[in-house]
């Protein structure tokens, strides 16, 4: 469904003396997701995960520049295509209630999403009520304002809004952020359900445990670079993980007793080397000098000179 090869996103800014600087937020990102599959993109905060979603929808800020190969349904994606595809074929499930207009009734917002995805204005209200039913919400919820919703209801509304247009690729950006266990579980269940119904789901999150509970495959993201692609089942502590960063992430989980502490955020290396060199036990001058290429390993991929 979606194939991304060496995607990079940079932001240009002007400093004193009108000198133009470009800061690379994503250096090299590779991933692919096919239908009926949930691919989790995990990484720490600041790794550039949310940017990925915005890039796919073509809603990056104006000073952003993008390069790399994006293929969607076998066709190369250009920024122009993105503008046409967003909402219709690629839909975003945003991370919080602030993504709903506070002064507009939720039914109106869902109906508008339906219209934008190609449902006729006449049929959009019916579609809205159907979408509400699908997520076990009463009809009267449509006449409520976002501030009158509970956290769980708001999540369901966001999911309903994103999925009303029958988009084939669903981007879920931190869908479990700030939710209690039960609501988070329900939200993840919806995502799994969407994948089982034939859609491709890209789950962008920092919550590895949540991701593992529904994902088929996991892409690990560190300092703007994809470092590993693994099957969800590889995260079981049996040493199947291919990259030292993935192992460190796994070991840092609460269930694993916080074995290793990770730095608060991986600095985005400007030298062009591996983003994990500052914390890696195996790092050598080679790692510092050049970014390793992607290697296939045990039915997954890894980007490490030592793997």
């Amino acid at each position: 469904m979606l194939d991304i090869k060496s995607l990079s996103i940079g932001f240009s800014s002007y400093s004193f003396g009108l000198k133009k600087h470009t800061v690379l937020a994503i250096r090299s990102l590779d991933l692919s997701v096919s239908k009926k599959e949930v691919l989790a993109v995990v990484g720490q905060s600041g790794a550039g995960k949310s940017l990925l979603a915005h890039a796919l929808l073509g809603i990056l800020p104006r000073n952003a520049s993008l390069s790399g190969d994006l293929t969607f349904k076998g066709k190369k994606l250009t920024p122009k295509d993105m503008a046409l595809l967003r909402g219709r074929e690629i839909a975003l499930i945003p991370q919080s209630m602030t993504y709903l207009n506070p002064l507009l009734k939720v039914g109106v917002q869902i109906a508008r999403a339906a219209e934008l995805s190609g449902v006729s204005p006449k049929a959009s209200w019916k579609a809205t009520l159907e979408a509400l039913r699908r997520y076990r919400l009463e009809e009267k919820i449509a006449r409520r304002f976002p501030f009158q919703l509970s956290g769980g209801m708001a999540r369901r509304i966001l999911t309903a809004t994103a999925t009303i247009g029958k988009a084939d690729l669903i981007l879920a950006d931190e869908p479990t952020n700030g939710l209690d266990q039960a609501t988070a579980g329900e939200t993840l269940g919806h995502l799994r359900g969407l994948a089982d119904a034939g859609k491709a789901v890209l789950l962008i999150t920092h919550d590895i445990e949540a991701a593992l509970s529904i994902a088929d495959r996991v892409t690990v993201f560190c300092g703007g670079v994809t470092v590993e692609e693994a099957r969800a089942s590889d995260f079981n502590g049996s040493g199947k993980l291919r990259h030292p960063y993935s192992r460190a992430l796994w070991d840092a989980l609460p269930g694993r007793g916080f074995v290793k502490s990770l730095p608060a955020r991986s600095p985005i290396s400007s030298s062009g080397g591996c983003p994990f060199i500052f914390f890696c036990e195996k790092s050598t001058p080679l790692c510092e000098g050049s970014l390793p290429g992607i290697k296939n390993l045990n039915q997954g991929c890894v980007r490490c000179h030592h793997a």
């Binding site: 915005h54 929808l57 809603i59 503008a83 967003r86 909402g87 219709r88 839909a91 975003l92 945003p94 919080s96 602030t98 993504y99 709903l100 207009n101 506070p102 002064l103 507009l104 508008r112 999403a113 934008l116 995805s117 304002f145 501030f147 009158q148 809004t161 247009g165």
Partner: protein, 332 residues
């Protein structure tokens, strides 16, 4: 029931605040006026000052109570005020309230027209400017707004007067109706003709603030999370502006517009002075120059009430329109 109780509480609070405000304004303005270097008797007599003997002056002063100490005069005035007696205007020889009433009607149309025009145009320009941030349109609107925000009203008035009244001769040079006619004789057309230029001046200036404010709020709304989500659904910039941003921008704009009634008053004083428009603003200036203390204080109190009413309306409208406040039934 809760709704009703909170409404009553809201009104009581407002009335209490208004009374405190009135007392404070009355006291402060009285103190200010009593420090004024203008001697009311001299100002009243004007050029006749040479023909009047010191004895006669004393009689006038005594009749006006100027022989009493200021604190005593204040309490005399305040106690009459509470009973609704604003006193006599010395320059018009009429009750203060009737002078204010007549002059206010003249001013009202000027202010109302300027206020409505600047509100509508300012809002539209602000939304356009904010929606197309950094475009040529935005830059020209901003340039206009910043220029007008930093231009004095009287100067704009004089420029317009020079161009439209003197050089082009399209509009009259002064007054609210043709010179030589009484207000009753003037036709509606004549009055409107005299109203156009002062109202235009006030709106030109008034647009600036509401435009800049609306522009900021629109930019904020266009960069909000809900705008990003709408964009992700395929909504275009204009759609986001009209379907999403507009609602969120309208509320603060309405509040600002009602709160700006006070500034409108200040602007009217200057514009009326330039155009010799016989409204409340010009009367204020005359009362100040000619030491008409009862009229001046009466206008101060009246304008306090007017501005307070504007702010209260802003509060009420906010509550009626914003569902977040309305649905929870919370007033203030």
């Amino acid at each position: 029931m809760i709704m009703k109780n909170t409404l009553i509480l809201f009104c009581l609070k407002k009335i209490l605040r208004l009374m405190l405000l009135m007392a404070a304004v009355a006291t402060f303005s009285y103190v200010l006026v009593s420090f004024s270097p203008v001697n009311p008797v001299d100002a009243y007599l004007g050029t006749a000052i040479l023909k009047v003997s010191p004895e006669q002056r004393e009689i006038i002063a005594k009749r006006w109570g100027l022989d009493q100490p200021p604190v005593e005069r204040f309490f005399n005035w305040a106690s009459q005020l509470i009973q609704g007696n604003f006193g006599l205007s010395t320059i018009f020889n009429e009750p203060v309230l009737s002078v204010i009433g007549k002059r206010f009607v003249t001013s009202f149309w000027l202010m109302f027209l300027a206020w409505t025009l600047s509100g509508i145009f300012g809002f539209v320009l602000g939304v356009l400017s904010g929606t197309f941030e950094n475009s040529v349109l935005d830059k020209s609107i901003s340039l206009y707004a910043y220029t007008m925000a930093s231009t004095p009203t009287f100067w704009v008035g004089m420029v317009l007067l020079t161009v439209f009244s003197i050089q082009l001769g399209w509009t009259p040079v002064c007054c609210a109706w043709p010179v030589g006619l009484s207000p009753e004789q003037a036709t509606l057309g004549q009055r409107v003709h005299h109203l156009v230029l002062p109202a235009f001046t006030l709106s030109l200036i008034g647009i600036a603030q509401i435009t800049l404010h609306t522009r900021e709020k629109t930019i904020e709304a266009m960069n909000s999370d809900y705008a990003a989500f709408a964009r992700a659904q395929g909504e275009k910039d204009l759609g986001i502006a009209f379907r999403h941003a507009l609602r969120n921008v309208l509320l603060p704009a309405v509040t600002l517009q009602f709160a700006s009634i006070g500034e409108l008053f200040g602007g009217a004083v200057l514009a009326e002075q330039v155009f010799s428009y016989p409204g409340l603003g010009k009367t204020t200036v005359e009362a100040g120059y000619r030491g008409d203390v009862p009229l001046l204080l009466g206008i101060v109190i009246f304008s306090t009430l007017f501005v307070f009413a504007g702010n209260t309306m802003a509060d009420l409208i906010y509550q009626a329109v914003d569902p977040r406040i309305r649905k929870t039934g919370g007033l203030i």
